[in-house]
């Protein structure tokens, strides 16, 4: 209900904002075309030499000659956009985006496993600094990040006698002995008609751009290393995805190595 209310307020605000956008033409320029970013984008387009070859296809077939493509200014989100064209996305950034607390069969301490070894957790222990992809091993090669197999837990824990008798580990071994997988509950669940690809994001940001994995994973999942049971930190709604994909996204995007996410609906919905 409050969303509807907010929406209507925003709609009203938007009326004024649109009027304001008349005056926006000069200020928006700053947001739209930072010279450095623009040059990089232009360079990225130029590097795609092979596309020029494809251009000839139309000419060979007697089609209308292609005009040289006018390079489009990458879209940046200025305040008009935030306020008027995607206000809910903007408002969501202020509101509580936390997901519900999920009770798991075993209260898995992410902080103990993935936390910073130098940092002391609330339970008085430090983390082990394990890479997310050590357990969620499929993230870099599949759509799904995957829940680690029970074998993986046991693989380490049977060699860690010090915690063998703690309640959680006892429970873990109960499952193992019974030969049953642990019925983890889903924390980050998208609707069935959305298909998010972990592989592509990990490949690009972790392996190509060599950003720290914590930053990359944490962009959507939050600082899981500081939690025990993981909890959703972002709305993970469509606006969340779209806002990111719109950054530096130009109309002439190919699916090669332009610096932005693809924007067509068929990418996620199919």
């Amino acid at each position: 209900m409050h969303r509807i209310f907010l929406n209507s307020i925003v709609l009203l605000v938007g009326l004024f904002a649109a009027t304001a956008s008349f005056a926006d033409s000069s200020t928006a320029h700053d947001g739209v075309a930072p010279s450095a970013g623009n040059a990089a984008a232009a360079a990225a387009v130029e590097k795609k030499g092979f596309i020029a070859d494809y251009d000839n296809i139309f000419i060979v077939k007697g089609g209308p000659e292609a005009k040289p493509t006018t390079e489009i200014k990458p879209l940046e989100w200025n305040w008009v956009d935030k306020l008027f064209y995607n206000p809910m996305g903007w408002i969501n950034s202020f509101t509580d985006q936390l997901g519900p607390e999920v009770e798991q069969p075993i209260e898995f301490p992410h902080d103990r496993h993935a936390g910073d070894p130098g940092k002391v957790n609330p339970d008085g222990k430090t983390g082990d600094g394990i890479n997310c992809m050590y357990c969620h091993t499929f993230a870099r090669r599949s759509l799904t990040a995957g829940i680690p197999p029970l074998r993986k837990c046991i693989g380490c824990h049977q060699n860690i006698p010090s915690v063998r008798d703690t309640p959680r580990i006892v429970k873990l071994f109960e499952y193992w002995d019974a030969g049953k997988p642990i019925p983890w509950k889903k924390v980050h669940d998208l609707p069935d008609y959305v298909r998010f690809n972990h592989e592509r994001h990990i490949q690009r940001f972790v392996f190509k751009q060599e950003r720290p994995y914590k930053e990359v994973c944490g962009y959507c999942h939050g600082d899981v290393a500081s939690m025990t049971v993981a909890r959703r930190q972002r709305t993970l709604s469509m606006g969340f995805c779209v806002n990111c994909h719109k950054k530096n996204h130009s109309l002439d995007s190919t699916y090669t190595k332009a610096g932005h996410g693809p924007n067509d609906c068929f990418m996620c919905h199919k």
Binding site: N7, V10, L11, F84, N86, M88, N92, G239, V242, N243
Partner: protein
């Protein structure tokens, strides 16, 4: 002698027993008497709201039953899927879209009477335009329901609205359906505003004449403190005139856009440039026919014999006949252009209508919509209530069939021969919802007429005053001036 707006001659309400002007009791009221007083008009209208004939309540009950049938059908369809309406991948549209167009069409008569004839100073419209205007609003509301019923996922209908949303997604402004949403929404809003604005002086009268209850509060609120001062009237006249102009444009553009739902598509048989005028005139035609039906019903139900009188009916009927002829011309033109055109697909389509699976219905519609209105050309039947009642209903059926014949056979015979000629008889669900729409529309009209003035008091008084002036001038032997208005 100065002309008084109060008349001292007694006006005897009960036309069934008594006479006025010395005519026998069984005679029809030919025209509004100039001797009727302003106060009489006020009290007539107020009283008719309070005491309709008992059949009013029966009519309400019937309407509720009709709606219940439709609601049951819709619940079934909603739960099971649109498949229960028995459409197919070839005949994707059906009764719903036909009825949508029909109801949008019905709405046009109100605009014609209230706005167009207002501009042309046609006095006779004054007694009928109010309920006609209400019909505009309610017909549009009914049409809107058909859009909902028609959608595969009506619970997602808000996707059509362009509103700033979290997803950053907009509706497709290139789609005629979105134009529809804009234009029909505008039309509905504006016609409601027009209806309300025109009602303000009358609401003030109600405010003054009804002394307690929720209605008093309602009228007090809605009358906005109207006191009939010269300033009020002066501005009201200009504003009302301006609104009339807007409404006429809206009506024309509204139905043109509805026609563009069809005309903008590639479907042969839809893809016709003459569709907008054809649709607009067809709308006026069918709307006027519906107006006659409602005229006769209201006249009886609310004892409006004095105001919804034979003179008005005659003019309505003549207007309808004129529109029928214009429509017939456009209908023939449409067929002729298809006939002479080079678009073989459209020609093929026309042949299919005349000879294919829907041929019977097509010919029936042609008979009802082209031949039947000729009865209206005969003076002796123009004021014959039973004849006009039946005739107006037949014309409505005919014009509904016209819309159905635009939708159903056309879709059954498009560009692609493999899918040709599927004839899909609509299931009871489609018929049930169509049936209910009439109940819904009638219910709204009945409630409106019970709560709001179904005939415009101040305009009637103006008309009455004009008559008085005429009568006065006739009496004193002076030519009547046009200054009465």
């Amino acid at each position: 002698m100065t002309l008084k707006i109060k008349d001292d001659k007694p006006f005897l309400r009960d036309t069934s027993k008594m006479l006025w002007d010395g005519e026998p009791a069984h005679a029809e009221v030919k025209d509004m008497s100039p001797h009727i007083s302003f106060a009489q008009i006020t009290s007539d209208v107020v009283n008719s709201l309070e005491n309709p004939r008992p059949i009013y309540w029966w009519a309400i009950a019937v309407c509720v039953f009709m709606i219940a049938v439709g609601v049951a059908c819709e619940v079934y369809q909603y739960r099971t899927g649109l498949g229960v309406s028995n459409k197919s991948n070839t005949n994707v549209w059906g009764v719903y879209i036909a009825s949508f167009v029909f109801w949008v069409g019905v709405s046009h008569a109100g605009t014609l009477l209230s706005a167009l004839l207002h501009l042309t100073h046609s006095d006779w419209r004054k007694s009928v335009f109010r309920y006609a205007e209400a019909m505009t609003t309610f017909a549009l509301m009914t049409a809107g329901l058909f859009v909902l019923v028609h959608l595969g996922r009506m619970w997602q209908v808000y996707y059509v609205m362009p509103y700033p949303n979290e997803r950053g997604v907009w509706s497709n402004f290139q789609s005629p359906l979105v134009w529809d949403m804009f234009v029909i929404g505008t039309y509905l809003t504006c016609s409601s505003i027009f209806l309300y604005t025109g009602m303000i002086p009358d609401l003030a009268v109600f405010r003054d004449n009804i002394h307690d209850g929720w209605r008093k509060k309602l009228y007090t609120f809605l009358a906005m403190g109207w006191q009939g001062t010269d300033r009020h009237w002066r501005n009201f006249r200009v504003a009302y005139l301006t609104l009339s102009v807007y409404l006429i444009i809206l009506a024309v553009s509204g139905h043109s856009v509805v026609s563009s739902d069809f005309a903008m598509s590639q479907q042969p048989g839809f893809h016709i440039t003459s569709f907008p005028p054809y649709f607009v005139v067809g709308a006026l035609y069918s709307g006027n026919a519906a107006l006659i039906t409602v005229f006769i019903v209201l006249r009886f139900m609310f004892r409006y014999e004095q105001y919804l009188n034979m003179d008005v009916l005659r003019k309505l009927v003549r207007l309808t006949f004129a529109l029928a002829m214009i429509w017939t011309y456009l209908h023939l033109i449409e067929m002729a252009t298809v006939w002479y055109g080079h678009d073989t697909a459209a020609r093929d389509q026309l042949y299919f209508k005349a000879t294919g699976a829907y041929a019977g219905w097509w010919w029936l519609f042609n008979f009802l919509a082209i031949v039947c209105p000729w009865v209206m050309a005969f003076r002796r039947w123009q004021t014959n209530l039973p004849v006009q009642m039946v005739l107006s209903l037949l014309l409505n059926v005919g014009m509904w069939l016209e819309r159905w014949m635009i939708v159903a056979p056309t879709l059954g015979h498009s560009h692609y021969p493999w899918t040709f000629d599927f004839d899909q008889w609509p299931s009871f669900v489609q018929w049930g919802i169509l049936f209910a729409s009439f109940g819904w529309f009638a219910l709204l009209i009945l409630i409106f007429c019970k709560v709001f003035p179904a005939v415009s008091m101040y305009e009637l008084k103006e008309l009455n005053y004009a008559r008085k002036v005429e009568a006065h001038h006739a009496l004193v032997g002076e030519p009547a001036t046009k200054g009465a208005h």
